[in-house]
Amino acid sequence: MAEATIDRLVTAATPFEDAFRTLIEGDGAQAPANIQSLRFAAFEAFRQLGFPTTKNEDWHFTSVAPIVEHDYLHVTTPSGDVQRAALAPFLFGRSEWHTLVFVNGRYAPELSNTGGLPKGVTLLDLRRAWREAPQLTQPVGSITSYHSRAFTALNTAFMHDGAVLSIDRDVEVDMPIHLLFVTDAVAAKSMMHPRNLIVVGRHAKVKVIESYVSLSDAVYLTNAVTEVSVADGATLHHYKMQREGMRAFHVGTIETRQARDSHYISFSLGIGGSLTRTNIYTTLGGEGCGATLNGLYMLDGEQHGDHQTQIVHAQPNCFSRELYKGVLDGQSHGVFNGKVYVDPIAQKTDGKQTNNTLLLSDKAQIDTKPQLEIFADDVKCTHGATVGRLDEQALFYMKSRGVSRQLARELLTYAFAADVLETIEQDSVREELERMTLRRFMTVAGER
């Protein structure tokens, strides 16, 4: 069976050959020469790698077979029919935030809001950046590596749109910047490879929200890569909101490089898609850095959601904090794999990782795997994972006060998720996620 799978995966690369040729010869030829050569190298790497199988340690609990089964069109021209009003549910009630909107993988200037950006902030779509500010796009491909990662290789080969955000040194941006990737029914059977770059200058501070949402239940593949550079003393709050359509496939990789005394605070929400994989990698590349990687996944039905995180402590005196919580209902399958690597020179590393999952049904399943590789001898690193069910005692207690079973379940679920949601600094984002957690509990919402 394993051999048959490998055969299929190799031949499955063929439709990608056609799509790649079309990209290189057509619309994509507008990219700078260095990007073109990067694409060729990445596509060659993808040819060599093929799609990962469950024999690959990083994909042990997630089979990409459902993704590979489909042929995808690579849409390179603007498409779709999305009205501004349709985006309202995804804007956290804050339409004034600077927002780049992408529809079916392509930048949609008419839906975006880039007017009046603060001084020192550059926010462009990738294609415009290639034309008008090529120096800004220099780091593309230098932070993340495609050599051992098929999906990143595929993204690198097919990249042709996305967001470029650059914050000058010492600039503190008050309002969050929102990168909103939306699909509609036109996205059916297509693949999108958004490529983003976020560069935060020395002592700058900014919050960025990266949203993947859908207005349809079409089958499509989002394969996004975001490269992030956080300079000395800078702080980036980076919220990833994965709310894809319920039949969609999503692979999203964020790779961050942190310089001395920088702080990277990540929150990853995973609630959409039929099969999704989120990779969040950060390298603490200077002394005095801090990384906080938190997240919440809530799955139901037959959803499969996989979170992989990797924190590389490459320098001494850094800390990392990680709290991932999951709520699994129906026959859903959650995966959490948290790697923490401590380099031999990374003394005084202070790391803590926690993964808690709440199973709401007997058929829901979680695979959780902390992976600590510690090569320094003077460090403090802990990890812990728990899997639990709703507390029957608490359920009875609440019901004995007249609270319905449904509401009691929702309140206890909310309570389970509350502490990780509380870590979100941006009020409107936190409140929106709290509402989502309490979906059917609107009638008595208002206070906690």
Binding site: D391, E392, Q393, A394, F396, Y397, M398, K399, S400, R401, G402, V403, S404, R405, L407, L411, L412, Y414, A415, F416, A418, D419, T443, V444, G446, E447, R448
Partner: protein, 256 residues
């Protein structure tokens, strides 16, 4: 017609029978004390009346306001006016007392065909109820029972009782673990809530509580049956003589 009528009630936990045939009738406005040694089944009786799924009812009937109580879900019982003050109130981290209380209050109101109240209206209601049990309003902002002292937990139970205004309140060893001052506060709260339209079943191991909450009737439970019923003077007799004189012959399964 009685408010509550229990006939031949038997119940077990797993294979172990605990209640072996309880008969008890209670009218509106009455306070009944249920006393008995450890393991006599008095807490089981309280839990069964509230509908705790951990106990299996194996026989008998319970009629409440003319309805078959045993057919009702715990939340339906609460909405119909039954309240159980837990011996060990459950901690619910992450859900604030205020949120929980208002959710419960609105569910009970909905069941009675009354409108829901918003947070501001509810705050006014709470002000009065907090005073009744001498509780610090700051407790409302804390997670339900989480990190509360024993006395605070019991006071919180009485606060819930005051808010939900049940027709039948069952106090399951509310005095356990309380010092005399906390006991007095809790008992004062209960006494203020007594009235012609509200009945109580006060389950206790000690006569001490009954000095403060004076019952109309006292029942002694042993080996899963009521072995003696009487007026409040029965409690005093028990204090003096202990349970042994009543439980001889019923001693099976009784620990002292």
């Amino acid at each position: 017609m009685s408010l509550l009528e229990i006939r031949g009630l038997t119940a077990s936990v797993g294979d172990k029978p605990i209640l072996r045939g309880i008969d008890l009738a209670l009218n509106a406005g009455e306070v009944h004390a249920v006393m008995g040694p450890n393991g006599s089944g008095k807490s089981t009786l309280a839990q069964v009346l509230a509908g705790n799924p951990a106990y299996d009812v194996t026989g008998g009937s319970v009629t409440y306001k003319g309805q078959d109580l045993l057919e009702m879900e715990p939340e339906e019982r609460a909405q119909a006016g039954i309240f159980l003050a837990f011996q060990y109130p459950v901690e619910i981290p992450g859900v604030s007392n205020a949120y929980f209380l208002r959710a419960a209050y609105n569910e009970v109101r909905k069941a009675r065909g009354e409108g829901e109240v918003d947070p501001l209206e509810f705050a006014d209601i709470m002000e009065e109820k907090l005073a009744l049990v001498d509780m610090d309003p700051a407790m409302l902002g804390r997670s339900v029972n989480t990190g509360f002292s024993g006395g605070e937990k019991k006071r919180n139970e009485i606060l819930q009782l005051a808010v939900l205004e049940p027709s039948l309140a069952i106090l399951d060893e509310t005095d356990s673990g309380l010092d005399i001052d906390a006991l007095r506060t809790v008992a004062d709260g209960v006494n203020k809530l007594r009235g012609a339209e509200r009945s109580f079943i006060v389950v206790t191991h000690y006569q001490r509580l009954l000095n403060y909450i004076v019952p109309d009737f006292v029942h002694v439970l042993a080996g899963g049956r009521i072995v003696k019923s009487g007026g409040k003077e029965l409690a005093l007799a028990l204090e003096e003589k202990g349970y042994d004189w009543l439980t001889e012959g019923e001693a099976a399964g009784v620990t002292r």
